[in-house]
């Protein structure tokens, strides 16, 4: 495999388990075994260079945990991430992350100019103060802010502008791989459009690879090349974006898509299925989706399904073969 064809990232059988904090009584007197949350439980995927791979799923399914592991903020319990060779640490691709809450992730006491210049100085990417300054102003321009904004503080900006500042800071490190965890969830649709257009421009100009995390399915459809659907720490379906949206196979993917209101063809008489989001603390045995699944059989309640392949789709469902027909 040539260097160019090597995927930007190969994730192999990644798990991340957390011990739940126990009360002193349970631990020492009653001697109860500690409980585990399997936030991520054995997921594998590949992201080709210059493409966008998205993860979708309901709150608590493990999306942010995957993001944090990819950028090294969280160590996997098991499994490996193989990055392509690049300009980052240990000769791997240089990776940066954009967070959901653009305010929490910016230091309120620093001027915007310093926030953006910091990674440039840290990594020694520019020679001297003048050069650093010029690069910083260039980055402000790239994300659609003005040179004057360098002297202002984060609280003087709107949510969308703050997200631009965090994108500029992430770009300052000259990343080759960008992890975006819900980059537009806190923003208005108009600002979301500005940010999504900006991310698309950066990808075509700089050849960036994205891991994009969102529960907004229409944003995911817009930006992705491949999409993984997660449920309780596992990827239940993974496929090219058109396959996921036009031919969803897994009962959970079908359910998710049917829950999103369609702007031009709204279903005003919708009778939604009542669901409660599952907890990863006590997942049901067998296929963890079985309590919500209209197709669940006895087998589903006992054994967890393995991955199977339908064309370009990877799916974990005992009834995958039937899904081909629908």
């Amino acid at each position: 495999m040539s260097l160019k064809e090597q995927p930007a990232l190969t994730a192999s059988d990644i798990s991340c388990w957390f011990h739940l904090p126990q009360s002193w009584l349970d631990r020492t007197v009653l001697g109860k075994p500690s409980r585990m949350v399997k936030a991520v439980d054995g997921i594998s995927f590949q992201i080709p260079r210059g493409t966008t791979f998205s993860i979708v799923g309901e709150s608590g399914c493990g999306k942010s945990t995957v993001a944090r592991m990819v950028v090294g903020l969280q160590a996997p319990t098991r499994g490996t991430f193989d990055f392509a060779a690049g300009r980052g640490r240990k000769g791997r691709l240089r990776t940066q992350m954009i967070f959901q809450d653009p305010f929490a992730s910016l230091n309120p006491r620093w001027r915007v100019g310093d926030i953006i210049a910091e990674p440039i100085r840290e990594l020694g990417l520019c020679d001297g103060a003048k050069e650093t300054e010029r690069r910083m102003h260039g980055l402000l321009d790239t994300v659609g802010l003005g040179s004057r904004d360098a002297g202002r503080y984060p609280h003087e900006f709107s949510g969308g502008q703050r997200q631009r500042i965090s994108i500029a800071r992430a770009l300052a490190a000259e990343p080759e791989f960008l992890v975006c965890d819900e980059p537009t969830s806190a923003l208005d649709v108009s600002v979301q459009a500005q940010i999504l257009n900006l991310l698309a421009d950066l990808q075509s100009d700089l050849g960036l690879t994205y891991l994009f995390i969102s529960h907004n399915l229409s944003a995911v459809r817009h930006v992705s090349d491949r999409v993984a659907v997660m449920y309780l720490g596992r990827i239940v379906e993974e496929a090219p974006v058109e396959e996921i949206f036009d031919h969803p196979r897994h009962p959970y993917t079908k359910f998710l898509l049917s829950s999103v209101p369609n702007l031009l063809h709204p279903d005003r008489d919708r009778v939604p299925v009542a669901v409660d989001l599952p907890s990863p603390i006590n997942p049901p045995p067998g296929c963890t989706y079985n309590p919500r699944c209209p197709l669940a059989s006895d087998l589903c309640k006992m054994t967890a399904p393995d991955s199977s392949y339908l064309g370009a789709t990877t799916i974990r469902c005992h009834r995958a073969a039937e899904a081909r027909l629908s």
């Binding site: 709150s59 649709v189 999504l196 257009n197 229409s218 949206f245 209101p261 702007l263 031009l264 709204p266």
Partner: protein, 343 residues
């Protein structure tokens, strides 16, 4: 002039007895040391029985303030400076605080984005429901408890007889929001103000909550102001939509017209900026710039710095809200081909 098509103008019932909510020329101000900030700059709207009016617009447009003015919960630094608010034919913007308190919960219910702010963490869900009901309705404790169980059932909470003994933290986010809805509805209000009721929720839970709100309005004839920036929710739920920009309504009309044939350049931008679930466009429509700050309100049409059709007239004079198809829109150039072109 051609004869206008038959439609119920959003202002036709304005001063008739039929409207549950009738807002007339509402102005909300925040006096500060450096001058008066006018956040709501003259709003007229009505909501009829069983009707859901969606209110949309970017953050800072004044959606929440309009709602809080109606429920009489403006922060003490703010005030209704001009205009009137009528609910079921009664003027409420000048009521004494105690009178307003009685109205809240009884005649007007409120649902906010974060269910935890509306629930008391120290009381069981059942106690909160029964206490609220007994403040407003002549019910015995047993009758109220009975109704609480029915209400929880109605909002889709399984095993309500067990659930009423539990505390809010024992509920999931979606279930908490359903409890808030039950609380807002328990005294059978005529009007419900729902401010971003589903924004923090997953799509699956969101679908349940919006279906529930719709059912309540249809079955009980409750009027609802549904504030959200999620156009998908609006498309499935609202009957009419008001689009707000910089403290004013810039377009108002039936939901299908607003979404499929928006007239105002701002509405068009908003709709165009939403990625589609069914087909992929190369680029999203982008409205450059941002909502103006209250202390730097542009002259004329407040949208002019961001509008590509803006000309001299737009910069100098404020456009009034005038009929445009089945809607009303505030824009000088609706009759210009490129402006009125339906995308």
């Amino acid at each position: 002039m051609t004869i206008a098509p038959v439609h119920i103008s959003p202002h036709a019932p304005a001063h008739s007895a039929g409207a549950v909510l009738d807002i007339r020329k509402l102005v909300v101000e925040f006096p500060t040391r450096r001058g008066i900030l006018t956040a709501i700059r003259g709003i007229d709207l009505t909501i009829g029985r069983g009707e859901i009016l969606g209110v949309v617009g970017e953050s800072g447009a004044g959606k929440s303030l309009t709602g809080t003015a109606v429920i009489g919960l403006l922060e003490s630094s703010g005030r209704v400076a001009e205009g009137e608010i009528h609910v079921c034919g009664r003027r409420i913007d000048n009521l004494p605080r105690r009178e307003m308190q009685k109205l809240r919960g009884r005649t007007i219910g409120a649902i906010f984005q974060d269910p935890l702010t509306s629930l008391n963490p120290l009381l069981t869900v059942g106690d909160q429901l029964t206490e609220t009901m007994r403040v407003h309705l002549p019910l015995s404790r047993a009758q109220a408890a009975d109704r609480a169980i029915k209400l929880l059932q109605e909002v889709g909470i399984p095993s309500p007889e067990l659930r009423i003994t539990q505390y809010p933290h024992q509920f999931s986010g979606g279930m908490r929001q359903r409890v808030v809805i039950a609380l807002a509805l328990c005294a059978e209000p005529e009007l419900v103000i729902a401010d971003e009721p589903t924004t923090a929720l997953d799509v699956s839970i969101q679908a349940q909550i919006t279906a529930l709100l719709k059912r309540v309005c249809r079955d009980r004839g409750t009027a609802m102001m549904l504030i959200t920036h999620d156009m998908g929710v609006i498309a499935e739920t609202a009957d009419r939509v008001a689009v707000m920009y910089a403290g004013r309504i810039v377009e108002i009309g039936p939901v299908a017209s607003i979404i499929r044939a928006p007239r105002h350049p701002y509405t068009k931008g908003l709709i165009g900026s939403i990625p589609s679930l069914t087909d992929r466009r190369e680029r999203l429509v982008q409205i450059d710039g941002a909502m103006p700050r209250l202390n730097a309100m542009p002259s004329g049409c407040a949208f002019h710095p961001r509008c590509r059709y803006a000309n001299e007239q737009c910069r100098n004079d404020r456009p009034p809200l005038l009929p445009a198809g089945t809607s009303e829109a505030a824009c000088w150039h609706l009759d210009r081909e490129e402006v009125s072109h339906v995308a």
